[in-house]
């Protein structure tokens, strides 16, 4: 077998060196009743590389990939161009096959990259400190609420109704199982939501997404002030990280904790994962953060170097008193993020964000010109909500056969919610072509007739 270097002779010699007759003797501590004497039946045996390739390629070919159709989906996962060099560098074995940098002398590559990642996340979010990444945006969101509970010593959180429903559900599960109170407001596609009205002296945090689930951009400064007046933390969620190239940073609007889905930079769609969660906060809350942190220090010769630090917060030291049970981060996805953002730079990111917005404006204008269809949002970045003349989900299914991947029906993520059946989330990125837009407009015109 191609991944197993031991020969039969090796095995025989090594068993002799160990002093046992057969490998079965090494498993003698397994209770007799639970010992399997042969490979598990009903499963195939080992296969050549080309057979595995063939099987998985067939499965892949059964999918309609985003690049194979006009494509307008977003809702927390965004299709952007990832430069070829990012994936090529990612495949370097020194990055791909290394472990968490516990031995800093031989892990400076990973550590310096994490330090750069943390710095980039601070710059984008306008925050003081950032960690070395989380699993994804949704789990980062749940961790942010728990952190706000720790910081404020309160246990009642408020979630905007326009928070991504999967993020909301992740926080709901966490609240249910770990024991804190939650007020999750209903979705407000038209944007009428008075979060400040929800504030009480018991509120630990308000969680609000920008741009929100329906695509609307907001100035959160007033909300931040209202929160701070009652000692509540403002948690800002960003699911489309490219938007930070065009919008005021959450930090500049007064956010206390910022969490984001970083997938849109450096990482493909990958059917939903793995992605990379960004987590940043004000400096005064640093020691309450979850997850890994990389810090700068010096080596024995006085040279700048990097180490994992402030681990006294973490489970391997604190055990049941840790800030979180998190053990891993999303290292390789964070690396992809940092490499892509390095290629973009200030100029490229702002250009890319402006391009996304401009192209989205073009499509919004075209949709508004179709009889029976209208864009709900007054403001947006690259994603907006379209009100269709009939239910969105069945239309999307029919269009998929063209193939046209027209967007995300709001009802898929808010099943059973009244008043959202006809709403479709539509996203435009730099990869959306004029021909793609024409295909969507043609489909919309067909239903209007």
């Amino acid at each position: 077998m191609r991944y197993l270097p031991l020969t039969e002779k090796d095995r025989t010699d090594m068993l002799a060196a160990v002093g046992v007759a057969s490998v079965d003797d090494l498993f003698r501590d397994v209770p007799q009743a639970a010992r399997l004497t042969a490979p598990i039946s009903g499963l195939p045996n080992h296969q050549p590389e080309y057979e595995v390739d063939r099987h998985l390629s067939r499965l892949a070919a059964k999918n309609v990939s985003a690049g194979a159709a006009p494509f307008f989906l977003g809702a927390g996962a965004y299709r952007h161009h990832v430069p070829a060099s990012v994936d090529q560098l990612l495949l370097r074995g020194e990055f791909l096959t290394s472990y968490t940098p516990y031995q800093p002398e031989v892990s400076q590559g990973t550590l310096q990259m994490l330090f750069e990642f943390q710095t980039q996340v601070c710059m984008l979010t306008g925050m003081d400190v950032a960690n070395a990444s989380m699993y994804d945006g949704s789990t980062a969101c749940a961790e942010a609420v728990q952190m706000a509970n720790r910081v404020t010593k309160r246990s009642r959180a408020v979630l905007s109704g326009n928070l991504h429903p999967h993020y909301r559900d992740t926080v709901v599960t966490t609240a249910d199982l770990t024991g804190f109170e939650l007020t999750a407001l209903p979705p407000a596609p038209a944007g009428a939501e008075d979060l400040a009205k929800q504030l009480t002296p018991e509120t630990s945090c308000v969680v609000v997404q920008n741009p929100d689930f329906f695509g609307r951009t907001q100035d959160l400064s007033m909300l931040a002030e209202a929160c701070h007046a009652v000692g509540t933390l403002l948690v800002v969620v960003v699911t489309e990280v490219i938007s930070l190239g065009a919008l005021a940073s959450p930090g500049s609007m007064g956010a206390d904790i910022v969490v984001a889905e970083g997938q849109g930079i450096g990482n493909g769609l990958n059917f939903g994962g793995p992605y990379v969660g960004l987590f940043a906060c004000k400096e005064k809350y640093m020691r309450q953060m979850p997850g890994r942190l990389c810090g700068q220090t010096k080596d024995a010769e006085g040279r700048r170097g990097f180490v994992l630090t402030l681990s006294a917060r973490e489970q391997h030291i604190r055990r049941e008193k840790a800030t979180s049970n998190i053990c891993t981060n999303s290292g390789l996805c964070a690396l992809a993020f940092t490499m892509h953002l390095s290629l973009l730079g200030e100029t490229g990111l702002r250009h890319l964000a402006a391009l996304n917005h401009a192209r989205a404006c073009q499509l919004a204008d075209k949709i508004n010109a179709v009889a029976g269809c209208s864009v709900l949002n007054e403001t947006f970045f690259n994603e907006f909500t379209v009100a269709l003349p009939k239910a969105a989900a069945p239309l999307v299914d029919v269009w998929a056969k063209k193939p046209l991947l027209a967007g995300v029906p709001v009802s898929r993520l808010h099943p059973g919610q009244a008043g959202v059946e006809n709403l479709l989330l539509v996203t435009v990125t730099e990869l959306t072509t004029d021909a793609d837009m024409d295909a969507l407009i043609a489909a919309l015109k067909e239903i209007a007739q």
């Binding site: 892990s107 180490v307 891993t328 999303s330 490499m339 953002l341 730079g345």
Partner: protein, 526 residues
């Protein structure tokens, strides 16, 4: 896997030998931070002009600079290539980190994960357009259930610790459904730190169970701790000492008899895959680290993936989403509004799990097959026992063998030598090996936890054994003048010498600030 820092000196001794010349050392090149390399006017991506439009950004558009550096592609490629050269992976060196399972990462798996049909697929596309992806998830689920003998599986958790949370959440939900309140979880002293952290996060109180002199759960101590308030036990098997819990079926019976559930930390499933089905041990739920048993790359710390298998009793409480096969079609159950969701405790993450990791794991599983996976366990266990057998006369093993997939030593053999476990680890680096896991498990003083894995050749093991024997003998022979102790100076032949972790924690610098780079780095630019 986790590593603790007990017993670690975190401030280095004064160096001897090298002066800080501030220059490249041969081809070990100094590399500035990316922020110290930027020059306005450069760009690493080409984009078309922004078309004329009326902005719809509203009142919250960005003012002022972000602060990111501008570079061209060749500079970025060189920067990250140089960083990679300060890193070491399983591709380049033997990396026997116990409990972490650093085994070969087949490149076929990377190729498969990059097929556009998987990589360029949106999670919220109509499921009619993602049948191949859902089919792959169903196929992986089938393998995991069959290999473990369990009744159900979820692929949702993003990592091992997330899987632990998932399993314990299912236990909590099941107890609640029984209308009971059980608040205590038993956790052996030798457990991974994530176990008590997980139990505590879910509101359970953690009750530690001591180990016997044989490194296993003390059955009498366990019996004494049982009661109507016990929700369950979190037990790693094979355990963190690299030993199989001989009494595991009795432990499961005791827990079940007391009305609790048995959570098995499956971090070490790689030692027994194909040889033991956890269902036959009485396990109620167990997470599987795909990066360990099924060799998805560790990537410098993630991303992971932590599917959890469930017994019949716990399967109904598994999280959302999951895939159900209906005839030839795969259906995705993704919301509590779907009747098929049943008693699910809900969603623990956006979308459908770590798809990229599922592809890699299934690629690995299909490559090995049922016969190969059993051979994986055989060879992993044989390699570890070979190391144990060949080193136990010069090092000190706390427990009698055989071990499972990792060989554990303590630091008794270093008594009165002035050399510590950490020093040996750092010397190993200078000899061309990544160190083993050290100071874990906590139940053993100065632990060395060595996990060779099945993908190492006998030649590699022999080379490592020779080096370890040399170092053990060198330490025992005495190191002469304490100031010139080579063990305290190691490593010397690395991109950096020992780093000052104490100052890093006391005065945290967690991001770059726009100030001059150290001279020796500035002069190294370009």
């Amino acid at each position: 896997m986790t590593m603790n820092t007990h017993g670690r000196p975190t401030q280095p001794a004064a160096p001897t030998g090298h002066a800080n010349t501030g220059e490249h050392r041969g081809m070990i090149l100094e590399e500035p931070l990316i922020f110290e390399r930027g020059t306005p006017g450069r760009i690493g991506v080409d984009l078309p002009p922004v078309p004329a439009h009326k902005s719809r950004l509203g009142s919250a558009s960005r003012q002022g600079q972000i602060g990111l550096p501008d570079l061209a592609e060749p500079q970025v490629v060189r920067h990250f290539t140089r960083l990679s050269q300060k890193n070491y992976g399983i591709d380049s060196v033997f990396y026997p980190l116990g409990s972490c399972t650093m085994k070969h990462n087949p490149r076929l798996n990377e190729k498969m994960a990059r097929l556009p049909g998987f990589a360029d697929l949106h999670p919220l596309q109509p499921t009619a357009t993602t049948q191949g992806a859902l089919g792959l998830m169903h196929e992986l689920a089938h393998w995991l259930m069959t290999l473990t003998g369990m009744a159900g599986v979820t692929l949702a958790p993003a990592a091992g610790a997330h899987g632990e949370f998932c399993g314990m959440a299912a236990i909590k939900a099941a107890i609640r459904a029984r209308g009971e309140k059980r608040t205590r979880v038993l956790v052996p002293e030798s457990a991974h730190g994530t176990n008590p952290a997980t139990a505590a996060a879910l509101g359970f109180t953690v009750d530690a169970i001591p180990a016997t002199a044989e490194g296993r759960v003390d059955l009498d101590a366990l019996k004494a701790k049982l009661g109507p308030d016990v929700a369950g036990i979190m037990l790693t098997n094979p355990n963190t000492c690299g030993l199989f819990e001989r009494d595991i079926i009795a432990i499961a019976d005791l827990i079940h008899g007391a009305g609790g559930y048995f959570y098995c930390d499956g971090a070490n499933f790689n030692a027994i895959v194909g040889r033991v089905r956890p269902a036959d041990l009485g396990v109620d739920c167990m997470h599987i680290n795909l990066h360990k048993t099924f060799s998805t790359p560790h990537g410098g710390g993630g991303p992971g993936s932590g599917p959890v298998v469930f017994s019949k009793a716990l399967a109904p409480f598994a999280p959302l989403p999951f895939v159900q096969k209906e005839g030839e079609a795969c259906r995705l159950i993704e919301s509590k509004a779907d009747k098929a969701a049943g008693q699910s405790f809900g969603r623990m993450k956006a979308f459908h799990g770590q798809m990229g990791m599922f592809i890699r794991a299934l690629s690995y599983i299909l490559s090995h097959g049922a016969d190969g996976l059993r051979q994986v366990a055989n060879d992993a266990v044989l390699n570890a026992n070979y190391i144990l057998a060949r080193l136990q006369d010069v090092m000190s093993a706390p427990f009698a063998g055989p071990c499972m997939h990792e060989a554990l030593f303590d630091d008794r053999f270093l008594k009165d030598t002035g050399v510590t476990t950490l020093d040996i680890a750092k010397m190993l680096i200078d000899r061309g090996y990544h160190p083993m896991t050290m100071y874990f498990p906590l139940v053993v003083p100065g632990a060395f936890l060595i996990e060779p894995t099945e993908t190492e050749s006998r030649e590699t093991l022999d080379g490592f054994i020779k080096t370890m024997r040399d170092l053990a003998q060198q330490a025992k022979a005495g190191t002469g003048n304490a100031n010139a102790n080579p063990f305290k100076q190691a490593p010397e032949h690395t991109p950096r010498r020992r780093l000052d972790e104490t100052t890093a924690a006391r005065q945290p610098i967690l991001k770059w600030k726009p100030e001059a780079a150290p001279d020796y780095i500035a002069s190294a630019a370009e």
